[in-house]
Subunit: 624 residues, 2 copies
């Protein structure tokens, strides 16, 4: 049985029946999938069919922390939220941090499986092994910060931790997120899944502790981890002081910070307007996740114009891009205000910004006019228009209603050849890296199971030049199939399953990630792995997620990039002239599938591979 | 010595020297002034000269709770904030509730005296008898809700209670308030006094208890109080469910809900747009003050247009008037949004709305044009303009800068005869009762020491027809001098000093207020009073406050009402044709001064009266 780390319990909430059932987490699931996204994807595959309507009551929403959550291990108390994504129809996994994940563990659960649909707006109140269904009628329509405060007041406990949706999730926007504190499980429209179940919020409070298999081993494994963190060239003091948004300067310098819907890199210099020097004038402090000595989450306050006094936790790097560079907005105060507004409305800042940028390009090209936009002057850089649209998107009003489900759905409605300006993969909008200058990063966008998710295989080798496991040339396609498999599998197991902070992997300790995870698993849980076996867990989960997608109809043709990145060279900056040629992409994909030992023609897992990973039942299910 | 109720300690904070000194609260001060405003005005008179610049470091800001704060007595844990008002130059007292007042008591103090001026933005952190001065550099410019949350996070304690200012207070707006939770010590610009001291916030946490002189006596006195509450015809369930805003329907019905800068009562029917029926569609819950079984504070959420999803604690009745009727705005969602915005900016909703209504009338009359307003179409009912101006007022930007110090200051700058449209007494903007239909209420506006403050002598006899201490005709001037003295003295001692909730006096227990206070004082503190002696405490404080004002240069000529109320009859509604004639006002004032045994010519306290009240030193100070 469990020696530590896990509570060994899963709480199954059925909103239709208003029942809460405690189940045992089988030890073999813990061993084979470790936690977080591993648990989420395992339960999703077993319980949700590929034909399930993501916004129907049959979809399930799974919150799962990892074995290290609630221990003294730094930066490892995060949580994955998993469901079939309404945005992509693929597996949707989003990670979040803060304090909710650990509180759920303290309340007694490794995971929460939410199924069915409540008849009326409801919130869950989970306290130390007990779950209550409470009316959220009066919370329906409320913004996320107020919602959390009102629930705390109602429960008479200011230390309750809450995950909730805003109006966007209620209105089933397919780019709606789930907010806890001022953090987001942002991508893939999981907020809409929560909204479709009439579930406004989950409030959690626990007084439990996480037991440890071997305190002595933990002490030494933790020390090795902390040492590796100290050894990072950027973690202290820079990253700790500046957070992810510091990356703006770097990606601008190497020419891969996307601007104006990926049309104009190098044409203007967003680093001057949105970079560290300006950011620093807006910083007013930072917040830490549970047991995090870094505290990268920077609070910024707008200082000028109508935005003065608006506070955001962020904008993170991605939001500097999505409400900054990609929309052409270069007023940092507008970016801060849009970040806060999106958080309050419960909209994914990334998909929302990229979708608005898409509409801006259509407007600039004359494909959309003021007639369609409801008189909004939707040129690049119009911050007021951006904020107006965010509100409209969350409430499905005016022109914003057209954008409420992301760029792919908007392009389908608009027609007129607009699809080629929609910057997404599998429906998921592109993150803040122009992969014409970072090709493994691009291959990851093309192949990652949720669509264009940088966090599923972040090519830090290309972005930051960290030579682990080997040195690469970011502008070349050579060897990127192998690298991407490594990035995806290592990232999956360390960050998404063992829920260690992705930023550590990117900037600090990639070299020891697998060994470190093995050592920490041994110390905390008593489950033993070699570093290679740890990596195999990542591979297993990537195979399982891919298998779910195959069942949903995805094939090799879906593993691609937006046309623009495949045909238009970057127009300026340090990566000028580069693009991901179609032949290059084909070559990288061939190598990638070969490395994965998947079928190269279809890009799908083979029975042989699945069986080798202990997923023979998956091969059966897919009738391979 | 103290037997109960009081901690017997006052904390003196000097921001210039960054020192905190604990002082003993002399027992005679407790006996003679009871608490709250009594303490505030006593310390103000003793320590601040009438010539003091209200925004200079010599002004003092005094927070004082009452002897019942923190006991089990319902609805009696409020607090008075006192300073020389920058808006009026008179004594400024504002009351607030929630949880901050009792937390201060639990931390060990009956009162907090804040003096001097910090060199840089600072916040105070008071915990169980210890006070720390902390940097508020990063909080400067922040809105009030975020500010409170960030301080809680910084102190690592979600149960800290915080009073703070918003941008309006920082920018020394003379109509800035102090916010705790979503409540306000709203009026008289006390937020600007806090801002002038570079004091962003006060955070308090205490684990102390309030001792009780005689638990047996308390039990029976408390029962009598609770019985009287139950006996109220309106407290349960109406007031408990609907809060103060329910009064809109009533004052509309009797024709005293002011609209369009007091020009058009009866011309349109705000009750249809802002009354209970519509309010109920926006109610999403309620909040309680400490030990309050009523929970009148209604949370309302805007439902339509650009305001959808905005939550406010309120709007209270006064704000339904100030952002509704008096500005002609009849969109309840705009009123809710403006209420929240004003709270976030730290602007007094009442003065802010009435000042905007003043500007709207000038615009409608052509005294102001778009040239002056910066292209704002400032007609009555323009909700968008109202919200724009609120932000501008708090930040002193654009046309709003002209309005940032209230209507009197704005009229002085605008000139062109605009003063006659400025609806204030002594600089304090009028509350939500058209006193042309409630004449004692008007006499109170004219004579109350802070200016037009309904809470200093609320004529519930006129407004609600409660025949205590006797029945009156609201449209007549007869006997209103005597009534107003009774109202002011009783209100002062019960609500402002013993810090019992004003709404109880208005709607529930006026008949037993004095006896009840005497009984509770005996039970809690062991200090004994007859009901008449309780009333005398109120009289003493009204005399002391008036004496301070006399020192500041106020005379009988300042005890008046805006010209409009004295000359223009109400144009419609149930009070149509009525106004407060100048002769009527003179008659009421003569009676009032005579009842107060003050000099009828000058309207000032006499040596004889002051000496009789134990205020001989005040007569000396004034050289009477």
């Amino acid at each position: 049985m469990y020696k530590g780390g896990y509570t060994g319990k899963v709480l199954r909430i059925n909103l239709t029946d208003q029942t809460a059932k405690e189940e045992t987490l089988p030890l073999e699931i813990a061993k084979d999938f470790i936690g977080g996204a591993g648990f989420g994807i395992k339960y999703l595959f077993d319980e949700v069919t590929p034909k399930t309507d993501p916004l129907g009551p049959e979809n399930k929403l799974i919150f799962a922390s990892g074995p290290f959550s609630g221990t003294t291990i730094p930066c490892a108390s995060r949580m994955a939220v998993t469901a079939k994504s309404p945005l992509t129809n693929a597996v949707g996994v989003s990670l979040t941090g803060g304090y909710f994940p650990v509180e759920l563990k303290f309340a007694g659960y490794d995971a929460l499986i939410i199924e069915g649909k409540a008849e009326k707006p409801t919130y869950l109140w989970i306290k130390d092994g007990k779950a209550l269904f409470r009316s959220a009628q009066k919370l329906w329509g409320m913004k996320t910060t107020d919602c959390q405060q009102i629930i705390k007041n109602e429960l008479g406990d200011q230390n309750v931790r809450i995950a909730c949706i805003g109006p966007a999730g209620e209105n089933l926007s397919k780019i709606a997120c789930i907010i806890n504190e001022m953090r987001a499980a942002g991508r893939k429209g999981l907020g809409a899944v929560m909204g479709s179940k009439n579930l406004k919020a989950i409030a959690v409070r626990g007084s439990g502790k996480v037991s440890i298999s071997d305190e002595g081993k933990l002490k030494s494994a933790r020390s090795a981890f902390a040492e590796a963190m100290k050894g990072s060239p950027v973690l202290y003091p820079q990253f700790s002081k500046l957070g992810t948004s510091m990356v703006v300067d770097h990606t601008c310098a190497i020419g891969i910070f996307p601007t104006r819907n990926f049309t104009s890199t190098g044409e203007y210099a967003p680093a001057d307007k949105l970079g560290v020097e300006v950011q620093t004038t807006r910083n007013v402090g930072s917040e830490h996740c549970y047991m995090c000595p870094v505290g990268c989450s920077q609070l910024k306050m707008a200082r000028t114009g109508v935005y003065a006094g608006i506070l955001a936790e962020g904008p993170e790097y991605e939001t500097m891009f999505s409400f900054g560079g990609v929309t052409g907005v270069d007023n940092i105060d507008a970016v801060i205000a849009a970040d806060r507004l999106a958080d309050e409305l419960g909209l994914d800042t990334m998909s929302a910004g990229v979708t608005i940028a898409f509409a801006m390009e259509l407007y600039e090209k004359g494909i959309l006019s003021k007639k369609e936009t409801g008189d909004i002057d939707l040129r690049f850089g119009n911050d007021e228009a951006m904020l107006t649209l965010l509100r409209q998107m969350a409430f499905r009003e005016g022109f914003g209603a057209l954008l409420a489900d992301g760029s792919k759905a908007a392009a389908a409605k608009i027609g007129k050849g607009s699809e080629k300006y929609a910057m997404h993969v599998k429906g998921l909008e592109l993150p803040a890296y122009d992969v014409r200058g970072a090709k493994a990063h691009g291959l990851n966008y093309a192949t990652a199971y949720p669509g264009a998710d940088h966090n599923k295989g972040y090519a830090f080798q290309e972005i930051f030049g960290i030579p682990v496991p080997y040195e690469v040339d970011r502008l070349s396609a050579d060897g990127k199939g192998k690298l991407t498999k490594w990035n995806q599998d290592v990232r999956c197991v360390t960050c998404d399953c063992a829920t260690m902070c992705a930023f550590l992997l990117d900037m600090a300790v990639p070299a020891i990630a697998l060994k470190n995870t093995a050592d920490l698993m041994d110390a905390v849980t008593g489950l033993q792995y070699t570093p290679e076996e740890v990596q195999t867990v990542g591979e297993r989960i990537n195979n399982l997620a891919k298998a779910f997608n195959v069942g949903s109809g995805f094939t090799r043709k879906d593993d691609t990039l937006p046309e623009r990145l495949l045909t238009e060279p970057l127009k300026g900056g340090a990566s000028k002239g580069h693009f991901v040629g179609k032949d290059e992409l084909k070559k990288m994909l061939d190598e990638y599938y070969a490395e994965r030992e998947w079928d190269i023609q279809t890009g799908t897992p083979t029975r042989k591979k699945l069986t080798e990973l202990g997923l023979g039942y998956v091969a059966d299910a897919l009738k391979l």
